[in-house]
Symmetry: C2
Subunit: 221 residues, 2 copies
Amino acid sequence: KKQFVVIGLGRFGSAVALSLAEENCDVIAIDRDEAKVKSIADQVTLAVQLDAMDEKALKEAGVQNVDVAIVSMAGNVEASILAVMILKELGVKKIMAKALNDLHGKVLSHIGVSDVIYPERDMAQRLAHNLVMPEFLEHIQLSPEYSIVELPAPDFLWGKSIVGTKLRSEYGISIIAIRRAYRANGEKKESWHVNPPAAEVIRKDDILVLLGANRDIEKLG
Amino acid sequence: KKQFVVIGLGRFGSAVALSLAEENCDVIAIDRDEAKVKSIADQVTLAVQLDAMDEKALKEAGVQNVDVAIVSMAGNVEASILAVMILKELGVKKIMAKALNDLHGKVLSHIGVSDVIYPERDMAQRLAHNLVMPEFLEHIQLSPEYSIVELPAPDFLWGKSIVGTKLRSEYGISIIAIRRAYRANGEKKESWHVNPPAAEVIRKDDILVLLGANRDIEKLG
Ligand SMILES: Nc1ncnc2c1ncn2[C@@H]1O[C@H](COP(=O)(O)OP(=O)(O)OP(=O)(O)O)[C@@H](O)[C@H]1O
Ligand SMILES: Nc1ncnc2c1ncn2[C@@H]1O[C@H](COP(=O)(O)OP(=O)(O)OP(=O)(O)O)[C@@H](O)[C@H]1O
């Protein structure tokens, strides 16, 4: 069973602690604010009020035994940096930390943080991406060059077989799944047809799940 | 060309404004804090210092003409709610807003926000998910039942053709892409082989990009 410590119970830190606890992990939750420690206490393994710059207190809380530490005190740069240093000295192998900005993030990387996290910025970029390409119901960046998008089947593809669409031969785009609505017991349901055969015929109201290079996907949008 | 207004230039709001501007959209950026307005002014179409509860000032800034408004003042519940009401009255069709917590989010939904956003909580859940399933380099929830994961090819698959792995016939899992490292001009590079043919042979160090039902994916992890 994996053990985690979350230091800093702001919006991000407390959400991480709670999500990990919900997945049945052991979570030590730490903050210097008593109210925050109390409000999470019965949802995590151990909730401790202490100052993260206090090496002795951190050791007594047992943080040296965790697999992963998440430091989430972006608003207190000094404390976040010192807490990371202490965790390193106590031998914690994997440390992730939320950064206030790029400069803070660079310092954190330099002192041994394996994953520097920018939650607001990352979510903002995903939102902006989805807003700019609204023809797609969903847009997932699989890598810098490849994306997965979901798109209601355009009318010119209805009645065509997958191979007949030439999406792959002409655009290099694969239909990796088709979401198709159907009725069962008077209820509207949806089934996923994953990796459909080349002969599968596309119907009106199908939602196509596509994988392709970004520039090819954009030609479809 | 799509037009947006972002009200509230905290970490999330400013990141949204900048990401949209980078995608060449028209962005009006609004905040009551002069320093924040100034620091973004030359990166957006228009940056205005005003109080978002001032209907007259919002109208003068031209917000009634935008396609989408993003309200990002989670720390100021009253201002976020009043700003949404004003935007609705000015006829803005799509309003998204960042919420401080569930209760704030419910109120925002009731007054007409189409998308209530919880950036820190959403990123925290994705992080927790990735931490709990560390065998996967990447885990994307495509739908409640299907996921895409990336996994270094396990040794028992090296040298097998894709059809020979029986991943599809036995687990219903499709290999939708293979990430393969290669050398070019002395540099380490990576190429994506998307929708590889059934006869493609898996090599040591390949990273497999898989699509399947969650419970089947978990059997592999
Ligand atoms: N020295 C410290 N020791 C322990 N906890 C601290 C220390 N300094 C700050 N904290 C706690 O860290 C938490 C998060 O702090 P802060 O709000 O600065 O970070 P944030 O990353 O901006 O938060 P959010 O996740 O809400 O955006 C707060 O609950 C605060 O009490
Ligand atoms: N009435 C208002 N009119 C205009 N701007 C405002 C108003 N009230 C707050 N703001 C601005 O909204 C911005 C974000 O505010 P706040 O920090 O409360 O939100 P947040 O959602 O917690 O931010 P973050 O995205 O950094 O987590 C601040 O820059 C603040 O100046």
